[in-house]
Amino acid sequence: MRLSPNLVPMLVVALVVVALYWPIMYLANIPAAQRALDTGAALPCKTAFECATQLRSPVLPSPQQLWNGFANLMFPLNSPNAIPINAAVTAFETLVGLLLATLVGFFFAIGMVASRAFERALLPWIVASQTVPIIAIAPMLVVLLGQYGVQGWLPKAIIAAYIAFFPITIGVAKGLKSPDPLALDLMKTYNANNWQTYLKLRFPASVPYLFTAFKVAMTAALIGAIVAEISTISFQGIGKMLAENSRASDVVAMWVIMLSSAVLGILLVALVNGLERLLTPWRRSSQVVAVPTKETRLAAREGVRS
């Protein structure tokens, strides 16, 4: 296995961050600890320095506190209050939302590619819907859907879809327009009808663009799902845990949830990357050529495809 040239610098940066964490943590926490001592709170420590790592609501939690919080929130794995199940629920909502967003995105994209009139009438609003802080609509949408009996995970998925459909629409529209004019001409000389042109040329051509859009849309959908969970009565999900612990002012738990949701986001995007590699294997070689590193240049000279 070849090691990435990024590995050593990345490790160094990570080490620097970790090494800086302790002094910064002490700097941030000691004033708070001093204040807590001055007010005479019952703390199991004497000096501000000792207390800095044991505050109930630290400015920055100490690694020990984070570790303990992590252990508390991770196990037992199947507990309804533990992170794994809640993260799975949020991930499910996000994925359903992404699926819905893909359907809507394809609808708009095909419309825009097929008819310029459609594009003229709708594209400004599709763009404007992005400059609008759409998240603001989430609390209202959730209450509204709840009134009509849509409850549970579905409203969250719908909100996730609403936030994620834009990058997919734009990406797919770009992809559908991406085939070479020569290829389109070839379809014409084969007397292919519109439907065949889409099925055999335009859809396959749009797949790489779809995946690029998915990476952006996945994060957007995850944000949508979490915000939807926060602003509703929900019984499961990362957002519900965030809201609960925010109300209970459990700072350490909030840090743990934040870190786990970051991991969830990274995992979901990695899932898209994996699918991309699986479904569009022809892209891999072109990507390697697109960024000529020393190795690929060598390989190209020797006639080897890496």
């Binding site: 040239p5 990024n6 610098p9 990345m10 160094v12 940066v13 609501s57 400015v59 920055l60 008819s115 310029r116 009139a117 459609f118 003229r120 009438a121 709708l122 594209l123 400004p124 609003w125 404007a128 992005q130 400059t131 609008v132 802080p133 759409i134 998240i135 603001a136 609509i137 609390p139 209202m140 209450v143 509204l144 009134q147 990476k215 996945m218 994060t219 995850l222 944000i223 979490i226 915000v227 926060i230 602003s231 990362i238 957002g239 965030l242 612990n245 925010s246 002012s249 700072v251 909030m254 840090w255 949830i257 934040m258 949701s261 970051a262 969830l264 986001g265 990274i266 979901l268 995007v269």
Partner: protein
Amino acid sequence: MSLSYGPGARYGSGWLLLGLGFGLLLWFIAAWWDMSEPASGAQKLLIGLGFLLVVWGIARVAQQFVNITNPVIGFTPAALTLLAVVVAAEALLRAYQVPTGLIPTPSRVLSTLLEVRDVLLRDAYQTVVLEAMVGYLVGCSLGLLTALLVSRYVFLERGLLPYATVFSSIPIVALAPVLVKMIGMDWPSKAVIVAITVFFPMVVNAFRGLTEVNPLSLDLMRSYAASEVQQYRWLRLPNALPFIFNALKLGTTLAMIGAIVGEFFGANGQGLGFRIQIEAGRFGFDIVWSAIIVASIIGIAWYGLVAWLERKFTGWHVSFR
């Protein structure tokens, strides 16, 4: 649409359909203005017919605008679409007599917007000027600075950039409660959230612009014995401007979202996000919609401002020619 009559007649029929449909919808709204019982089935059918006529009309009329480059006239079909949706929503809500507490009619939202505009403007000042703008400026400048450093030192590029791409897949909302707890309920906490949100796209985009330079131009700079500073001033920065503006445009949206979401987790009793959260909780949806309209107008105007600056500073770029 290769019918035998000329283009003028075709567009004329489009405008006719449009007028007919809007007439139908508006007539119904006027007739139903003070009613309190739901409309009959036939009347609902009439509304559907009116909406269909309008859509059909827009579809025909829009053909006429396909090749117009003037942005104001070219916007006509989109404006008609918005008008159609608003009028149809008004008619439908009145026909079904949906309780105003649940979905307010557009006319009611507009009157509420006029009533509470002072409160909303104060909220907007807090959310946009203090939180979003300050955070945006700080985040974007820091991002640009980081990109300059990262593009200069290969070690930083290898060590930092992978983290920047990883960070872009993290849901920012999860960051908000932590930062609000850490920094406090006042506006600085939200400004920090905004700064973090706009920081990473700026780093990634500006870095691409600074490094994806034509190798021939770089060789030319070298043969002129240009210093590092000159190289950045005359080649790399101009090359990066379109990328930087892309990040700036993206950042306007992210900044608004960041500020509003940040307020969901605690605010000092002001702000658009705070208002939306509170009013949605007690079914004051007319105020929620008004707040959303204010936020949207500001968001669009801000985006437009950055786009205008972009055209001013990078007018030479291929995408504008």
